[in-house]
Amino acid sequence: MGIDIGKFLKNPEFEILITTYRDIFQVEALERDRFGEEYKKLSAVITMSKNDLQKTGFKSGDRVKLSNNNGTVVVEVKESKKNESGGLAFMVNSPWSNTLISGETDGKGIPEFKYIMARISLSKEEITPILDLIGAFHK
C-alpha cells in the first residue's frame, strides 16, 4: 500500500460569505432542550447552494471547518433546497454562528449578526460540541 499523500496535504480553503436566519424547527428544539442533540443537529449546520457545493467540491453531510479572526467551529454541510444562485451561505442563529461574529460595532452596540466573512475547508474533526463553545467562560 502506497503512502497516502492526501493526508499530508492541507484541505483547500475557500472564502465564504454567510448570513444568519431563523428556523422554526431549530427554535422549537431550543425551547425544548438547548443542550440536546436535536438543537445541535439543527444548529451546527451551514447551508450552501448547489453552485457553491460544485465550486468547493463539498457535499451534503461533509463536515467543514469555518474560521475567521473571531473563532473556529466545525459544522455539517447541507445543500440548499431553495433556488439560490450562490455566493452566499446560510446558518441559523446559534452559539456556532455567534462564534464567528465580530464584537466590533463602531460603538453602536449592534454586531454584524447577518454578515459573516469566513474561511471554509473540509474537516475530519467532530462537530464542535456546545460545551466547548461556552466552556471557556466557566468560572
Binding site: 448570513t19 422554526i24 447577518k114 468560572k139
Partner: protein
C-alpha cells in the same frame, strides 16, 4: 383559552389539556409556542457557585452582589410580564444600575422611532380588517412569528377584505434569500444582495417619485405601481432590514413619508420586548441602554454589547434571557470575571456560568400578568397550572427589598 408566550403575537386562542397539573397537550399554537408552553427539559435549580442552595440563600447572595457592585447591569426582562418589567426598572433605579434588553441588538432602533411617533403604525386588527398590500421586508414571519400570516395579514377574512389572499390581498417579500414567507409571496419576491436594502429603498423612492431608477428599473417601477395603488398597506419590518440599514435608519422614515397609506409594523420575537421598551420609554424617554445614577443617562456605551466589550460592568443580573447563547462569543468572555445572577425558568447557557441561579415561574404557564403585543396592544396572560415557583415580579420585589 390561554395566551401563548412563544412570540410577540401573543395568540389568545390557546387550549391546554391538563392532566395531574401537567400540560399534556397544547392546541392551536405554532411549533414554537407549543414547545415553549409545554416547558423545557432542564428546569433551572437554585444554586450558588453552581452548587445547589435554597432560594432564600440565593436571593440573599444576589442582593449582596447587587449591593457590592459599583456598576451593575440588569439585562433581559423581554420574556417577563409587564408587572415584572415595572419592578425590574425600579430595581435598576434603586441600585443605580444600567438597564438594557435584547432590543439593544434587535428591534430597539425601530420601536424607538415608533414610540417617538416618527413612523406611522397601526394595530394588527386594522391589518386583518383593512390591509390589501403586505410587505414582508427582511422578515420571515413563517419561521419567527408563524401565525402572523394566518391570524392577521394574508389569509384571514377582514371587514373590508372578505376574500382574503385569493383576491383581496397581495403579499410581497423583500429579502436576501427565498425564505418560507417569500415562497408564499409568489411572483412578488424581490431578492436583494446582502446589505442591499439601502440601495433598494433609494431606487424605490425614485420610482415612487416618477423617475426611472438605474437599479432594476422594470421591477422597481412595477413595485412602485403596486404600492401606490394600495388602499391600506403594511410594511412588516424584520430584523434583516433593521440590521441592514442600522446606520441609515432615516431612509425608512423617508420611504414611509412617500407612502402615506402604509403603516410600519415591527416584527418582534420575544413575547414582551415591546412591553419592556414601552415601560422604559415611559419612565425615561428611552427604550433601552439606560443608566440610573440619580438622573437618567442614555448612551450607546450602556448597550450590553459595549458594556461587556469594554468591561465596564462589575455584576450582571439576567432575567429571562440567555446572553451566552445570543451574543458574539468574542464579547462574552468578560462574564467569566464578574458575578452573574441568572433568573429563568430553564437552564440556559448563561445559567451554566452564573454565580447565582434563581428558578422562576414560566410566565403564561405558571404565572399570570400582562404583555404588549408587537403592535402595542396590551394583552392579558393567564396562569395554566399551579406551582410553587416565584414569579419574576416576586423575585424583583424581593431583591429590591433586600438591597
Amino acid at each position: 383559552m390561554f395566551t401563548c408566550t412563544g412570540c410577540a403575537l401573543l395568540c389568545e386562542d390557546i387550549e391546554a389539556i391538563i392532566e395531574n397539573n401537567q400540560i399534556k397537550e397544547i392546541r392551536n399554537a405554532c411549533r414554537r409556542g407549543a414547545a415553549r408552553m409545554k416547558g423545557c427539559a432542564n428546569r433551572l435549580v437554585s444554586s450558588i457557585d453552581q452548587k445547589p442552595a435554597d432560594i432564600e440563600s440565593c436571593l440573599k447572595k444576589a442582593a449582596e452582589i447587587l449591593r457590592n457592585a459599583k456598576s451593575p447591569m440588569l439585562f433581559g426582562l423581554d420574556n417577563s410580564t409587564c408587572e415584572a418589567q415595572a419592578k425590574g426598572i425600579q430595581l435598576a433605579k434603586k441600585t443605580n444600575a444600567i438597564i438594557d434588553d435584547t432590543s439593544s441588538f434587535c428591534q430597539g432602533l425601530l420601536i424607538e422611532k415608533i414610540l417617538q411617533k416618527k413612523l406611522r403604525t397601526c394595530s394588527l386588527d386594522d391589518i386583518r380588517n383593512k390591509a390589501d398590500v403586505l410587505v414582508y421586508w427582511g422578515s420571515d414571519a413563517q419561521d419567527s412569528q408563524p401565525r402572523h400570516l394566518s391570524r392577521f395579514s394574508y389569509f384571514p377574512r377582514g371587514e373590508s377584505r372578505q376574500r382574503g389572499y385569493e383576491e383581496d390581498r397581495l403579499a410581497i417579500a423583500i429579502d436576501v434569500r427565498e425564505s418560507n414567507t417569500a415562497k408564499i409571496c409568489k411572483g412578488h419576491f424581490y431578492r436583494i444582495p446582502l446589505k442591499g436594502d439601502k440601495e433598494f429603498i433609494l431606487a424605490l423612492m425614485e420610482a415612487l417619485s416618477g423617475k426611472a431608477p438605474a437599479y432594476d428599473t422594470k421591477n422597481m417601477l412595477g413595485l412602485a405601481s403596486i404600492l401606490k395603488k394600495a388602499q391600506f398597506g403594511a410594511i412588516f419590518v424584520g430584523i434583516g432590514l433593521t440590521y441592514s440599514i442600522k446606520n441609515d435608519f432615516e431612509i425608512l422614515t423617508a420611504l414611509a413619508n412617500m407612502l402615506p397609506r402604509f403603516n410600519i409594523m415591527p416584527m418582534v420575537g420575544h413575547y414582551n420586548m415591546r412591553g419592556f421598551n414601552e415601560a422604559l420609554f415611559k419612565e425615561t424617554g428611552f427604550v433601552n441602554r439606560v443608566k440610573f445614577e440619580g438622573k437618567v443617562v442614555n448612551d450607546n456605551k450602556f448597550a450590553v454589547i459595549e458594556a461587556l466589550k469594554k468591561k465596564s460592568i462589575d455584576a450582571l443580573v439576567v432575567v429571562g434571557s440567555d446572553p451566552v447563547l445570543s451574543l458574539p462569543r468574542s464579547i462574552i468572555s468578560h462574564l467569566a470575571s464578574i458575578p452573574v445572577v441568572c433568573i429563568d425558568p430553564c437552564q440556559t447557557f448563561t445559567s451554566r456560568i452564573a454565580t447565582v441561579n434563581i428558578p422562576s415561574a414560566a410566565s403564561g404557564v405558571e404565572s399570570a400578568g400582562s404583555a404588549v403585543r408587537m403592535d402595542g396592544k396590551l394583552i392579558g396572560i393567564k396562569k395554566i397550572i399551579e406551582n410553587n415557583y416565584m414569579t419574576d415580579e416576586d423575585i424583583m420585589k424581593r431583591l429590591m427589598e433586600a438591597v
